[in-house]
Subunit: 451 residues, 2 copies
Amino acid sequence: MEKTDVLVIGGSAAGIVAATTAKSFYSDKEVMLIRKEDHVLIPCGIPYMFGTLESSDQNCIPDTGLTNAGVTLKTGEVISIDPENKTCKISGGTDIGFEKLVLATGSTPVQPAWLKGVGLKNVYTIPKDKTYLDSFRACLNGFKKVLVIGGGFIGVEIADELSKSGKDVTLVEMMPHVLALAFDEELTIKAEEVLQSRGVKIKTGCGVKEINGDGKVSGVTLDNDETLAADAVVLSVGYRPNVLLAEKAGLKINDIGFIRVNEYMRTENPDIFAIGDCAEKRSFITRTVKPTMLASTACAEARIAAMNLFKLSTVRLFGGTISIFCTSIGDYAFGAAGVTENLANERGFEILTDTFEGIDRHPGTLPDTHQQIVKLIVSKESGIILGGEVMGGKSTGELTNLIGFVIQNRMTVDALLTSQIGTHPLLTAPPTAYPLIKAAEMIAKKRRAGK
Amino acid sequence: MEKTDVLVIGGSAAGIVAATTAKSFYSDKEVMLIRKEDHVLIPCGIPYMFGTLESSDQNCIPDTGLTNAGVTLKTGEVISIDPENKTCKISGGTDIGFEKLVLATGSTPVQPAWLKGVGLKNVYTIPKDKTYLDSFRACLNGFKKVLVIGGGFIGVEIADELSKSGKDVTLVEMMPHVLALAFDEELTIKAEEVLQSRGVKIKTGCGVKEINGDGKVSGVTLDNDETLAADAVVLSVGYRPNVLLAEKAGLKINDIGFIRVNEYMRTENPDIFAIGDCAEKRSFITRTVKPTMLASTACAEARIAAMNLFKLSTVRLFGGTISIFCTSIGDYAFGAAGVTENLANERGFEILTDTFEGIDRHPGTLPDTHQQIVKLIVSKESGIILGGEVMGGKSTGELTNLIGFVIQNRMTVDALLTSQIGTHPLLTAPPTAYPLIKAAEMIAKKRRAGK
């Protein structure tokens, strides 16, 4: 039997960050990472393998980050965990003993078994699997019409990239709008406008009844009995946490299928941690469990788990997921952090919201100026910022991160009104109309009016 | 005599924000803004009138923001303030009575009277004066060689823009590097490399002894007696606060020439406030008075003064200037917030610093990927972030703002290590190597090692 102090199962973002952080924090401990894959794809870069990038090789995470940090890297499949004896069984290999175990087993695309035709040829999902995706890419030339089912981030990005590479793409979403879980209606409409202007056709408010075809895909029938022709279908209807190993080891799984953990990312077994797509998360704001799956959230959890492996620290807790994310469609980008207006209302917050529309450079006569929109969602009682949504140009990602930090620090509207920012003609909105502060001003006015 | 509840003197960024915020906060009060200029230039856009923009008209702040907000706009020059009778004398006009007065009188370029040749033809400064700058622009075609003296932000941006428009430009700076007050050496060297790659010649560590010429400029003699030929000289050696009106009205002026104010931006006269380039500021970190002149800082002060005009609020204080700024040179941008390593050492902080170098997209094989560098300056004792410096692409402005918010919220290295961020291939660094968090990790490691 092999032995290591820390064993990390899973080689994507969460696993890598957990292993390197553990080695950095506890340099005298041996850290091993075991994964199934020969090559690890950058998860968020996967959609860009279908247009912008020339090959999947351009979207791989190099192993040097791990090896340079002194982590032992092993390729192999863990088939069971024995928590009592603190060992893992490896398929076709020797057992590995551990002192501390980190589960970063990730997630797998949902295959809707109930959907007729899901097994037809040319029906694809988007797993984090280089071999599978390479074979999908190899078939792309033969497809003219592609249907993407599911208008979340992955669906939107894949649709845009396939369209960019010359396909006739239709995006089908059951909800009234694409990205409807991430943004309120006004921003989803903007996103749809940008997508359509780039040639993506959109069908919303309509589920798929059946995938049609004889052996291979010929199209789909929608719930309203409309049929759409297609050479290929991409199913992007969500991901399921990989928790089988944990479940078999007797670890608790929560009601929505994730491995139960506390704020240290520790399971009920003090020697086993879980992080990333497979681990339970609660919303920072609503405190309910949430099926968030984001590489950036996973990395925060990974750092926290790693730092708490051998000694707990009350200042290094995971406070709940803020679900900060952003996406780029053509020249525009969209970002969100915290709760939407819809979700806040649904959960029972009394809120005020407002939206400021401005520009991301100043003067607006400068080349490459984008419209910039910021919406804030604020607790009426306390004035604390609960969420924000952004549309703008290439600075949208970091502006969304700024809102994320506002939320994490539980900043109020008053704190924003007295905040300092930096501005520059070519890089930001003007100092007189910085969108975050203008939106806060508008909400402050409503608060004063007792609205 | 005319009367108004609130009188704002000065029509640039600070004046505009003070007037509109006052009207928004105290909607039943009459607010008047008086300024000398017919047209107000966007201050930070001025350098871009010398290359990117086609005319100064493209760089004007429209008056509609003021008039739509219900502010009375008046053009005229205030020649004296009578604090006892609460009136202002207007050149060639009727007196204006006020209940509350806001001084936003701005700053004027330093004219180094001691410098021989400063009065020669074709020696220019960069005041916020449309007429003056238009006449400078009108002469540009006649100049081939231009010397820019002073390598602060304005000097760097003007030099880059003039070079972009085809001039042979040399930038002369007395300190060892350009931008040396804003950044530590490693970042200033990077900025110089980018400037040079764009054709700007740089002479640092060398003052100007004399401007040469007979009637009009022919060149300069440096302190080391080297001479440089030039058709025109741009002096960008700092700005002086406009405090004459305040001084004559008996208001206190601090040791470095700014109008004394407290955290409400109020002078010792409870009815008179001062904001922007003319108003005293203390460093958020070092607590010493500081000659910061930034439109963005000015706007924060303006909001705070306006909100406190008729009733003070202890949650709407100005906590000191964080000096958040950024600039763009070619494809690269540079930003800083808080203190540099140099300044922190000089003031007596015990600090730890580290610098992370990464990329601003992921994978780095994506088009338009920039090198991204983040340096953090941290209090060794408390772990609180005191400053940060950034080099990167177009997201640098908002990333610098993120560091500004980290400083304002007095976040620690541990808080950063547990922070959530959002990432996207086309918009940010990877989640596994987000520069702010990686720099924090490197410093955390030094802290643990007791270095």
